[in-house]
Symmetry: C2
Subunit: 342 residues, 2 copies
DNA sequence: TGTTAGCACTCCTCTCGATAGAGTGCTAAC
DNA sequence: GTTAGCACTCTATCGAGAGGAGTGCTAACA
């Protein structure tokens, strides 16, 4: 365990590095932070901290920078919890009032707010359809050969697709079919609607395979990837202001990842854990972001976790501030979303 | 007017610059392109071309690069029309088959195809709701206090929103209201549904102002910006591979623009002109992309222009190839989209 | 008259070495 | 245990010089 002075030195070093992005020497720490000891003492302590793996040196005559282990210790033990100020809360609410007119825009604007406030990349995973509960489906007439199949969830999300229906079938037949499917599926969450149930429907309810295939496809899509499964991004340009991304090749690597929707959904995959999760450097599973840190939180509607929000940036990140903002959004986003469903 | 030899030299120079991104000297042209004259002659011609404003010199002892005027002349008069190969056509069709399951994905994948094939940024403006024709609206029950308002267009696009309805009102009342609104609006395109008509509806059909406000809002949103109005982007990372964007600050400027949805919609605003439009450098209205060129085309469904596709890249762009691909997509995308509506 | 070879000139870019500066580790003294 | 002093290491920066690419001009040639 680190003694008090080592902790103070580590804290000073990390704080300084976070704001300057420059390696810090013993003299700088002695001058900037009043620890009551001279630079030589700090030098000795820093040598110890390096031995223990909390800080690193790029070359013999450079200052020290925090290691991943150092950041981890900082986040776990040194960080003073911060809070979003009342002023900021008002600003956030006003922002939503002014810019978000529809549910999708809430996600988009949340991403923007997160990236503006943290000056980092933000990611918002919209509620996952698969966790919603099937309420009913309905066919809406379009023309002689086509109908729109609409699937409604209990939260009011909608999934729809235009499908054609076979010659000779009457719209009334479709309504009857819808009624039967509804009574079978009503109240089930989408991740419970498995292939077996669909097969059952096929055999017992739907006679015409062509219609079935279309309907089945829509249901299946609703089960897997749908528009509500989208990851909204914000502030990718923030990246370019960070000194660690002065190199175009590094930027390219990261942007490449952010362009892959599938990968993003994977990265954002909602964890059971209902709190704030900090992944530092190589703690991230995905190779391309292992030089970054990611702070992630879930959000819930009526107690049920439905999606996630996250901030991605260099390991040299203002963890305190980022965590405070995510903490606030974690508990606040659900309410905001509820508003938009009324 | 340029004589034949000047044209050949200009063409050689631009072709070379497009593939190498390096200024080209007289000796290089003489060696690489067999024009039957020596470098000294080419030097003289190049001096003339520079006088006339077709090419530029960065400093006294550098080679020449094309100017905007040079590119313009190249595009208008020198470029041999190219065609998408049959092989490429097959690849494109397979791509759609494999990746696009829903209409939105067609746009997304179109953007991807465009960026992959051109190695530049691509933009796809999805069909504008405002140009669609209102078919009908319908209320779907959700719970005791809320219904889903669904607006259906003749092309099968759907706009929906959850709205609450006043105490004491019956669902049957809503259906009656829907019927009346439908008979008033049916067959009108959304850009014809103006405030005056909405007011008329308010006075003659809807009694309860609260309900009206919600309904009105949805209609209004359908008239302005909706999800189908989105601009899909592809290949922003391609940018970073281009030597002209080696400088992080330039990248930042451009990405900043691409992050602003509104601006994108503006840039992509569908032109009346139904063909391929090339904007070179400062011919672009928006300041941030004035170091770039943009090639844009429309696409149509059943003869009606509904959206636009574009490729954005450095002025040093393979115009021939880009135009060929856009030309193909221009005439092909409509068909692809029709498939997804059946 | 148009074309070409030759040559001096300009300007950029790369490399090398010297220098200044930051920071360290070690030792000896407090 | 702490500190001052000092030699040492490594980096970043700057300028000089060499090398190279390309030009414009002139004079000669077909």
């Amino acid at each position: 365990m680190l003694d008090e002075r080592k902790k103070k030195i580590l804290q000073a070093l990390i704080t300084d590095y976070i704001s300057t992005a420059e390696p810090i020497g013993s003299r700088t720490i002695a001058r900037k932070y009043d620890l009551g000891v001279g630079p030589a003492t700090i030098r000795n302590e820093m040598a110890d901290l390096e031995m223990l793996g909390y800080i690193e040196q790029l070359h013999t005559s450079s200052g020290r920078i925090p290691s991943a282990k150092g950041y981890r210790f900082y986040v776990d033990s040194l960080l003073a919890p911060e809070q979003v100020t009342d002023n900021e809360k008002v600003l956030i609410n006003n922002w939503y009032e002014a810019k978000a007119r529809r549910v999708e825009e809430v996600f988009q604007e949340t991403a923007k707010i997160l990236s503006r406030m943290t000056r980092n990349i933000s990611m918002v995973l919209a509620p996952q359809f698969s966790q919603c509960i099937f309420k009913y489906l309905q066919f809406l007439p379009l023309d002689e050969h086509r109908v729109i199949l609409v699937i409604v969830t209990d939260t009011g999300f909608i999934e729809n697709k235009v499908i054609s229906f076979p010659e000779g079938m009457l719209f009334e037949d479709l309504q009857q079919i819808a009624g039967r499917i509804n009574s079978r599926l009503a109240g089930l969450s989408f991740d419970k609607i498995k292939a077996s149930i669909l097969r059952e429907i096929k055999e017992n309810i739907l006679q015409d395979p062509r219609l079935f295939d279309s309907t089945l496809q829509v249901l299946r899509e609703a089960l897997t990837v749908s528009k509500s499964d989208r990851v909204y991004l914000g502030g990718t340009t923030q990246l370019l202001s960070q000194p660690e991304f002065r190199d175009v090749d590094k930027v390219k690597g990261l942007l490449n990842i952010l362009e892959q929707d599938k990968l993003l959904r994977d990265i954002m995959h909602v964890t059971e854990k209902d709190g704030i999760l900090v992944r530092i450097g190589e703690e991230n599973k995905y190779i391309g972001i292992q030089e970054c840190s990611m702070v992630q939180a879930t959000y819930a509607i009526e107690g049920q976790v439905v999606g996630a929000i996250a901030v991605l940036g260099p390991t040299r990140m203002e963890y305190g501030k980022v965590m405070a903002i995510l903490e606030f959004m974690h508990s606040h986003l659900g309410e905001i979303l509820k508003k938009y469903k009324v």
